[in-house]
Symmetry: C2
Subunit: 332 residues, 2 copies
DNA sequence: ATGAAAGCGCTAACAT
DNA sequence: ATGTTAGCGCTTTCAT
C-alpha cells in the first residue's frame, strides 16, 4: 500500500481510528492486547503518521524557530545546538533560518515561519528590522546577543562593554599603548557597547582611541578575509602594539595577515578575539578571547520559550558571566 | 482576531474561500479588482496561510531532508548551504538533521522526516545503517561523499582513492619516506578508498605503510583534538617526515601538536588535510589539502531530487574533479 | 472569473 | 477500554 492512513491501520487491526491514534501517542488507556494488534498492523503496512494532519488538528504550540545571520560562523552553530538539543529532548520542532545579514531574506524566512505556525522565536545577533519583530506579537520572542529596549522581550547577553573594557585594560597593563580596535560596522547595541568598553579603557589611560577601523557590513560573511585585509591596511602606515577585535574569525584573519608580514604575535603585536570558538585553542598562536557561553545561551532561550507565561517585564535580561581567556596571542 | 483563517478573509473581502486560495497562490485567473479586495482583507486581518492545512490537502512533493553526521564541521555546512540555497530558490522546504554518528539519533531523525512526508533524502558521509536507507523505497535518495553498491542510489563523490594517491605520491616526490596516515576508523567505502590510495603510493615506492594510525570512532566529533593527540603519540616514538590526514580538522590539530613540540612545518614535517574548508588558507602554516567542491555537491544533489524520475540505474555515479591545493604545510 | 461542496488524515469530545 | 463523529484550514473539482 502506497500511503497508508490511520484508517487503513484501524481496518487491518480491527479497531477504531481513534484507538490507533491513542496507540501512536502512547496513551496508557489502551489494553495490552489491542495495542499489540495495532502495532502489528502499523508494522505490516509500514505506516507513518502524517504530521501535517496531526498538527492541523491539534493546533499545538510545539514549534520554535531560530534566526541567525550566518550559519557558517561556528559561534552561531553552537547557540543553535544548545537550543536544538533541548528541542529534540522535549519533543519540540525547530526551524533554523539564516538571513545572511539580508533584510529581504529575513522577511522571507519570517513569513515562512508564520505559515509553519511557529510559536516561539529566537533572534540571534542583528535583526536588521526591529519593525519585523514587533509584528510577532502573538508569539514568544527571545533575543540572544541582542538587546531589547522596549522591556518586553527577554534577552540573553554577556556584559559586552565590561568584557572588552577588562580585556583592553589588561593589554594596557601589559604595556600596550597603540591599541587598534577592529569591528564590523557597529550597528547594534551590542557592538556599541563593545566599542564603548574599548574607548573607556583607552581614555582612562589617556590613550588615543580614534584609531579604530571598521569593516563594512557586506564583509560580515567573510570575517576571516575582513580581518586579514584590515590589518594589512593598518600596518601599511602604522605599527600597533595590540589589536582588539570583535570576533574570533576577524582575529584569526589578523593573525594570518601579521604572519605573512613576519610580524610576531605576541612579541611584536598582541591580538584578541571574541566568542571563544573551539578552534581558538588550536590556532597558532592560540587566541586570547572573550568567552561567550553559547550552548548555555541556547538552552536558556529554550526555557524562556517553553515558559512563555513568565512575566518578562519584571526580569527581561539575562546577563551571563563572561571571562576572557588568556592564551598565547597576547604579551605575557 | 487571533488566528484568522481563509474563511475570515473571504468573509471580509466578500468572496469565496476558493477565490482567496487562488490569490494566495498567485493564480492568474482572478480579476484585478477581486485580487485587491482580497489582498486588503489579508493585510487587515494579518492573515497568514496555515501550511499544515495546505500541505495536508495537496500531498505535495516539495519537502527534502538532508542527514549529516556533524553540523559543526564546516565541511558539512557548505554542502547543506548548496542544497538549501537551491531549495529556497525553487520553493522547496528542507529539513536538516544531525546524527552525531549515532545510529539511534539517525533512526529518530528519519522517523521524524517520514512523518513530515519528506520526499527526497540526501545522506552525507556515513550512514551507520544501510538497512535504514533501504526502507526508504518510496522516496528519492541521494548520497554525497558516500558510495552505493546496489546501483540504485545516485551518489556524488570525488575520486577519493586517486586524490590521496596523488597527494602521497607528491610527498614522496619531494623526498618524504616515513609518511604517516591519520584517519578516523575506516568504516565506509570512502575511507577505505582513501586508505588504498595512500597504500598504493607507498607500496609502489617500496615504503612501509603499516604505520598508519587510526582514531577511534567516538572521537569523530572532536577531530581537532583527535589529530592533536594522535600526532603527540606518534612523535613520542618516531619522527615522520610527512603526515597525510583524512580531514582538515585532524590536520589542524596535528599542526597545533607539532607547534607545541617546536617541530617546524613544513621544514621538518609536511602535513596535509582533506576537504579544503575555508579556514585552511588562513591557518599558520596554510594547509595543503584535497579540495571537495562542497557547495556544488549540494547543488547536484538538488537536481537529482527534483528530477526524481531519471533512470538512476544507467548513471548513478557523479564523479567530481578534485584537485589538491598546494599551500605552505608541505615541503617545497 | 467566481462560488459551492467535498475531503486530505488526523485528534478530541463524547458516547458506550 | 473502545467506537462514533465532527471538524482543524486548506485546495480542488465541478458548477455557474
Amino acid at each position: 500500500m502506497k500511503n497508508p492512513t490511520i484508517k487503513n491501520v484501524s481496518a487491518l487491526a480491527g479497531v477504531a481510528p481513534s484507538t490507533v491514534s491513542l496507540v501512536i501517542n502512547d496513551s496508557p488507556k489502551v489494553s495490552r492486547g489491542t495495542r499489540q494488534k495495532v502495532l502489528d498492523a502499523i508494522e505490516e503496512l509500514k505506516y507513518s503518521p502524517n504530521s501535517y494532519a496531526a498538527s492541523l488538528r491539534q493546533t499545538k504550540k510545539n514549534t520554535f524557530g531560530i534566526i541567525v545571520p550566518d550559519i557558517k560562523n561556528p559561534y552561531y552553530i553552537e547557540i543553535i545546538q544548545g537550543l536544538k538539543d533541548k528541542c529534540d529532548k522535549y519533543g519540540y520542532m525547530l526551524h533554523i533560518s539564516e538571513t545572511n545579514y539580508d533584510i529581504d531574506k529575513e522577511i522571507q524566512e519570517l513569513n515562512f515561519m508564520k505559515r509553519m505556525r511557529v510559536n516561539g522565536y529566537v533572534f540571534v545577533g542583528t535583526s536588521n528590522d526591529e519593525h519585523l519583530v514587533k509584528e510577532i506579537t502573538d508569539s514568544m520572542v527571545v533575543f540572544i546577543d541582542k538587546i531589547d529596549r522596549t522591556g518586553k522581550i527577554p534577552y540573553i547577553v554577556i556584559d559586552n562593554k565590561q568584557s572588552i573594557y577588562k580585556l583592553t585594560s589588561y593589554l594596557i597593563n601589559k604595556g600596550c599603548k597603540n591599541i587598534y580596535y577592529i569591528s564590523q560596522t557597529p550597528n547594534t547595541e551590542i557592538l556599541f557597547e563593545r566599542l564603548a568598553g574599548y574607548e573607556d579603557a583607552m581614555l582612562e589611560n589617556g590613550f588615543n582611541c580614534k584609531k579604530n577601523v571598521v569593516i563594512s557590513n557586506d564583509l560580515c560573511l567573510n570575517k576571516l578575509d575582513a580581518g586579514y585585509n584590515c590589518i594589512k591596511n593598518i600596518i601599511r602606515h602604522d605599527m600597533p602594539d595590540a589589536v582588539v577585535t570583535t570576533s574570533d574569525l576577524i582575529a584569526l584573519g589578523v593573525l594570518r595577515g601579521l604572519h605573512e608580514k613576519n610580524i610576531n604575535v605576541p612579541n611584536e603585536i598582541s591580538v584578541t578575539g571574541f566568542d571563544n570558538i573551539d578552534y581558538t585553542q588550536y590556532s597558532i598562536p592560540s587566541l586570547t578571547t572573550v568567552n561567550q557561553p553559547r550552548v548555555q545561551m541556547g538552552e536558556i532561550a529554550f526555557s524562556y520559550l517553553v515558559n512563555s507565561d513568565i512575566d518578562v517585564s519584571l526580569n527581561n535580561k539575562v546577563l551571563l558571566i563572561s571571562d576572557f581567556i588568556i592564551r598565547e596571542s597576547v604579551k605575557k
